[in-house]
Symmetry: C2
Subunit: 193 residues, 2 copies
């Protein structure tokens, strides 16, 4: 990896932490440059615009999400074990970031702002819901889940369980957030059998 490429990765890694806690809009080239002890023009040269920097944050986060959540689950047996691995890895993903899920944070910022960021984020989210729904269909085919289950509804409800965790954990500082999350997904699995 070239030095320039490595620097760019370091900048994006730092920026993901800011986006996770304060949001995409609070990532500024000025404050990042200070954090990284770089000049603003040096940092600007890597991204050309704030939007390109924000897009790089989402792209790198999506790559990490696949690495932490999706790929390891594909090594698990098809059906319920894989669903369970996806949920456990999803918990790991949330805990890997200082402010919780960067996508949920960003979703709220860009959902009414048409453009590149919203398109990229919506596509990432659709891909993830398709992955969850697909793994659910496999669990139905394997006979782990009942044959009349609505696999897209399963994905909707799983998304909700993790969204609620963000509220309980981040806004309410609720100590039970992790237990509530796990209890909710265990119930979702149990009632899908």
């Amino acid at each position: 990896m070239s030095k320039g490429h490595q620097t760019r990765r370091n900048i994006v890694a730092r920026a993901i932490g800011v986006a996770s806690t304060l949001g995409l809009d609070k990532v500024t080239i000025g404050s990042l440059a200070r954090d990284m002890s770089m000049s603003k023009s040096g940092l600007f040269a890597h991204f050309k615009s704030k939007e390109q920097l924000q897009l790089a944050i989402l792209q790198e986060s999506a790559a990490r999400f696949v690495e932490i959540v999706v790929s390891p689950a594909l090594n698990q047996p098809r059906g319920e074990p894989r669903i369970r691995a996806l949920f456990e890895n999803w918990c790991n993903w949330i805990n890997s970031l200082p402010g919780g899920c960067v996508f949920l944070k960003a979703a709220s910022e860009v959902d009414d702002r048409p453009g590149t960021l919203r398109e990229f984020l919506a596509q990432t989210q659709r891909d993830w819901l398709d992955t969850l729904a697909g793994a659910t269909r496999i669990a139905m085919a394997e006979g782990h889940f009942r044959p009349d289950l609505d696999h897209e509804q399963f994905a909707y409800e799983a998304q909700g369980i993790f969204c609620a965790h963000q509220i309980f954990q981040r806004l309410l500082d609720d100590k039970s957030a992790g237990d509530r999350l796990r209890h909710a997904y265990e119930t979702l699995i149990a009632r899908s059998r």
Copy 2:
């Protein structure tokens, strides 16, 4: 109501629409003054600071939420009918705003920013979860829901179902969002009996 009081209400009503679509941070005294054809200093006199304006948005939203969601449900019979009314009114609340639930939008903005706004929002959210959990406990006492139900877990899962709707509706433009929401809460009610 004095003219000054009425003007303040009109400003806050306008600001709630902005906060619902673009977020609390995008509510600026300058842009609101333009929208309302007022001078910036005239508008500033009503709120003294941007934070006071943002707090007024949350306070007025909380009052509206009680008016639209909570109060009408208290006129419904105790137990499952009241729970169902809370859910139906919650849907009306979401649809009453141009960008969906203003609290979910704001939660994501302030959850890592200690201060007045975060405190007020967290308290509003706790009050709402207590209301939901309390109505659930009543449904258990009435024999509509099973006696070993975890009423706080019920509130957690209900919150999740509505959070997921925000993603499906606002970010994904998913036509099925409303049906998925209703299906999820009907299932939550059915499996609580």
